[in-house]
Symmetry: C2
Subunit: 344 residues, 2 copies
């Protein structure tokens, strides 16, 4: 469906995820005829380096998608709602990183390592949704175990980085470090509170049931991707003062039975993961090790002592929020279409 060298557009090119998309397209040598950088009027006119060339950021308009084969969106829900359908109408395949279409039954929600087969059904331009970052990182780790014995219940606590709230949030965390050292009051524009040396419940809106939107995404998106409404999930999403990689503490209850050694073997063979689980050296997944990498790091793999033998496992995972949690996953989705076409 995509030509072997498509024209690619990045919508939200000057955001944290947009910049990462461009960097990953270069790094993975994604075959492209050209790349078009789109952003709001405010950011239009800025210049970005790409493979030694200077690219001008253009203002996003209804005509932006003429001649575009692949449009990667990461400019928030409102922009996606308005422009994703226009891009499809213009003939582009859209991969949308916002939450706008994720739970739309007509829209595939995809992590290639989790449910990449869904992409095989796509034969014409449409919207494909990129899941929420916490969901992607959790499911790359947990899905191989789910396929093996079935996950009955999952209890997740997250340790989420600044990057999930955008480049300005990362900058504010670093600014607060400077302010701490200088003895100045903290700048609190993004989260309205001290972030350095602090931890707080995820900044998304909290619903009547007491869950915040980030937690609900993890619950709902998992069920959709696993095509399994029986799986029981609870999550507590928390922001910690790290820059760009999320960690998650995951407790699993299995439908079947799985020994720790077998879980370890399954995870070692799984795509998109790296085992970091050195008990002697006390070396386990850390955000600074996941940052900038492709893999979800998995460690602290152990049989859960609070469940019958074989019934449960504890894990601790770390993944780059901007890469596998967003930009990289979107580009991996797009690669499926280029590769299929190239193989014809």
């Amino acid at each position: 469906m995509l030509p072997s060298e498509p024209v690619v557009a990045i919508v939200g090119a000057t955001g944290a995820v947009g910049e990462e998309m461009l960097s990953i397209l270069a790094q993975r040598r994604f075959p492209m005829q050209s790349v078009k950088l789109l952003a709001s009027k405010r950011s239009a006119g800025s210049v970005v380096d790409f493979r030694g060339r200077r690219l001008l950021v253009e203002e996003l308009t209804e005509d932006s998608f003429d001649g575009v084969h692949l449009a990667l969106f990461s400019a928030g829900k409102t922009v996606s709602k308005q422009y994703c359908p226009i891009a499809v109408q213009a003939g582009a395949l859209v991969v949308d990183n916002s939450s706008c279409f994720r739970m739309d039954p007509a829209v595939p929600l995809v992590v290639p390592e989790v449910n990449g087969h869904v992409l095989d059904r796509i034969t014409k331009p449409c919207i494909i949704a990129n899941p929420n970052c916490s969901t992607i990182i959790a499911l790359v780790a947990v899905t191989p175990l789910h396929r093996a014995v079935g996950v009955e219940r999952m209890v997740v606590s997250t340790y989420q980085a600044a990057s999930g709230a955008g480049a300005a949030a990362m900058k504010e965390l670093e600014t607060q470090a400077r302010e701490f050292v200088a003895g100045f009051p903290y700048t609190t524009k993004i989260f309205g509170r001290q972030y350095l040396f602090n931890v707080f419940s995820h900044n998304s809106a909290v619903g009547e049931d007491g869950y915040n939107e980030e937690e609900k995404k993890l619950l709902n998106e998992t069920r959709k991707m696993w095509e399994d409404n029986a799986v029981r999930i609870t999550a507590t999403c928390v922001r910690v003062p790290t820059l760009r990689a999320h960690c998650e503490s995951i407790n699993l209850t299995f439908r079947g039975s799985l020994k720790e050694a077998d879980a370890r073997d399954i995870l070692a063979m799984a795509p998109g993961v790296k085992i970091v689980d050195d008990r002697t050296a006390n070396k386990f997944p850390e955000p600074i090790d996941a940052a900038g990498g492709d893999d979800v790091l998995i460690g602290r793999i152990r049989a859960d002592l609070s469940q019958a033998p074989g019934k449960g496992i504890d894990l601790f995972v770390a993944g780059d929020q901007l890469r596998k949690g967003a930009a990289q996953n979107a580009i991996q989705i797009a690669e499926r279409f280029v590769r299929v076409k190239a193989a014809v």
Copy 2:
């Protein structure tokens, strides 16, 4: 058993917990004839301010406890092992903050809000153990619910501060902030790694079952204090870059049934806690709000959607590691004896 104005000794007086002990004795106007500050030879000779007076830190020796009625220990397991029995022999009531005697069946392990009744049985000088900080903070929050309907299973993920590893660890975290701003390489003497903008599995030794010592303390100390070996617990203990208050994400399964509203009422009436649970303002427990305070903050109270109605609750708690997690709990234990005596 204690005179109405006892002679008090603090062993490890120059450590983070020792300093906090002295400060809390002053703040709570603990009735004392005098206070004796004891430390290793290295720290002896330093001078500490106390209620406007200057106190000399003395070297800990076998004769240090002559005339001492109450000895508060926080100088590590090795010092406790050697000197707690000597202090008892000299006639002192000992409250030990180390892990040395916690699991000794003959030694009471006490959080006054959890099992304060155990203290009523004590009639002569002995060792009383102060539990691990993560255990204290979790149990102040969870015990009222356990008393109401019984906790069947508890899944805990921690967000632990630098202070648990001592004053030097707090200092190193702040130093790393200065080094980040200056562009210098990080000083990594305490944890052997970058701590600023990072998260890592708790630095205690990991056993053959994959659990680290901090996690095992939470499992074992809870069972001992609840006098309940049937309760099933798993924990994942993680260090985050905060200074002196721990947070914990706690998922509970009940033996009986408990509605969210009833759980909230029980917690609101519980001793030693403060509810911080404003869903509209997105204001929940944060380490910087718990720091320096007496209470364990409890929020994110919600019925667990992954369990049958009434069967489970999620919580997020924060407590000052140096205060309720250590020094304050030890002094609350001691206060029981002074108060009893004073009432006679």
